[in-house]
Symmetry: C2
Subunit: 316 residues, 2 copies
DNA sequence: CGGCATCATTCAAAATATTTGAATGAAGGA
DNA sequence: TCCTTCATTCAAATATTTTGAATGATGCCG
């Protein structure tokens, strides 16, 4: 007793295609190096399993019924799927992961990440790439929760989790900067906490999904404008909507042109080391995609470019 | 020599699923009423065809490799597709079309069409329904060009094509109406062509795809605002953006509340009969979906509702 | 209209593929 | 260490598919 799952093999669907293309059972049998009765037998098997006639045989050449035409149409898509799957399974067996998810902190230079993606994807690897934008403790959490395979831009004091490997990217200096038209621009230095507290701060929202998240650099009782990334924080401060620390590498072009002014403050100035992290496991446990990225991240210039410390010009 | 197209049958994919779910070859064999060696043989066939190991056999229970996991993941979708196709082919064989396309003129009452669609789709027929909005000669052309199976709202003087069947929906009266704040509202009646020509007309664009299309009711040299449907024409005239004829059934609520004013004109007033049309062919050549619609369109109340001559309350 | 080529099918035999069941070696739990 | 249960091997049994000859039907061409 044949069932649909037994007889609707890709080869059977391909046979229906050949019949439609050649116009007759006889021609299709010749094209497939079969004897006509074998082809008749197999079509019958399909018709029995589906309990419908796929072909109208009242004329000399058998013609597709409406049901047969429907099977032809839908079957073409399944055929393409199967061929793609077979190809994909074979390629994954070579050691490449089906997918690699990278959590990218908003401090990380976006253009550099894109350049790396371009290099990775150029030889058409089997691995699909997925980027997730994160901020603050959300970057590491994506990794520890298993939602990401690699995290770029983890602050070194952001806690430690067992089972993770880390390597340093470099250190980012933060400066307290304001727009030149902001009232704080005219205050005598160094600025005290009391003076700063009277003005709105610009803060980046933590992208963490579990727990309360962290806030950085806020003074008690201070008004705050919350944005979703470091570039957005920069923009808000350029517009004089608020004040706060910015990575000097990010703010430097604007400091050079006078659109931002550095103010010295009584608080300790910040200088934070960032790293990248991935799950522990020897080289044998890592897919080739992750190995590719870890290899590229070893490069000193790449690291600096990711932190925006130099212009994007990666070595190959 | 097995190939991917031979061995990646839906039944084989289902077998991989059972192995993953039960956790071992032995349990999967029991679940499928097979002897263990038969299952081993079939897995081997798949592995040979794909030239990859789908299972790691170094432990007591065989475990999926990365390639095997990929096949499991992608295979689930193909399985669902195949089952849906088998179901669909069988239902199409019952006489229902895979798809029915209806061209609906913009004079037709939209809510009534939706009510009919709802009734048609309620018993979950195999036929997919596709509506196309058309205007003027585009409505009939969709039918004659084979892009629609049924046309609702064909003007009776819109030409005849061989091979079509027609039935009347009813007659729509058109009145020349203007917004009360429009300058023409204060002109003495009946309005001559010379007076009308000085004011912008609102015209509906013909949706026809071949040929130049037709324009209705424009005077030579008259300014025109072209919109895409009768409801849009009504809206433009309510806003006093232009003037022209409107179906009285469409304009009546606004005439009653004084938002539109009827003006008598020297030109002959329009009263146009509309019909619906489909391809010639006896009942045996029509799918059951088209038959359903033709049966419903025989009803006198349905016809009036489609022309907006009565409120939408269809008999079942 | 008749003849002929070619179509799809039937049928039984041949060939091939799949399944069975017993035996074996290995993993892993108590 | 012993025992259960795992996956595999192997040859025989069973099932399925293919073959090839014969047949009846369609439809083209002279």
């Amino acid at each position: 007793m044949p069932t649909a799952r037994n007889v609707l093999s890709p080869d059977a669907l391909a046979m229906v295609q050949t019949i439609a293309e050649t116009g007759s059972f006889a021609a299709a049998a010749r094209a497939r190096n079969m004897v006509p009765s074998a082809l008749t037998y197999r079509v019958r098997q399909m018709e029995d399993a589906l309990d419908v006639l796929l072909f109208d045989r009242s004329s000399r050449q058998a013609r597709l019924t409406a049901a047969g035409a429907e099977l032809l149409r839908e079957g073409a898509r399944v055929l393409a799927d199967i061929d793609a799957i077979a190809n994909r399974v074979k390629r994954v067996a070579t050691g490449w992961e089906p997918q690699l998810t990278i959590a990218v902190d908003s401090i990380i230079n976006h253009a550099t990440v894109m350049e790396l993606c371009k290099d990775f994807l150029a030889p058409d690897p089997p691995t699909r790439l997925k980027l997730r934008d994160e901020t603050l403790s959300g970057t590491l959490e994506a990794l520890t929760s298993g939602q990401a395979d690699l995290a770029l831009g983890v602050a070194l004091d952001a806690g430690t989790a067992p089972g993770l490997q880390r390597e340093p990217l470099g250190t980012v200096r933060f400066a307290f900067v304001v727009a030149p038209h902001h009232p704080l621009a005219r205050e005598p230095e160094p600025l005290s906490d009391d003076v700063i507290r009277r003005h709105r701060a610009v803060a980046v929202a933590d992208s963490v999904q579990r727990g309360g998240g962290i806030t950085v650099g806020l003074l008690p009782g201070q008004d705050v404008l919350t944005v979703s990334s470091m570039p957005a924080k920069l923009d808000a401060q350029l517009r004089g909507l608020g004040v706060g620390f910015l990575a000097t590498c990010l703010a430097q072009p604007y400091m050079d042109t006078g659109r931002l002014v550095v103010k010295s403050v009584e608080r300790a100035e910040q200088s934070i080391p960032f790293s990248y992290a991935w799950h522990k496991g020897g080289k044998a446990a890592q897919g080739r995609a992750l190995q590719w990225w870890l290899e590229r991240l070893k490069n000193r210039v790449t690291r600096a470019a990711l932190l925006g410390l130099i212009a994007t010009s990666l070595p190959h």
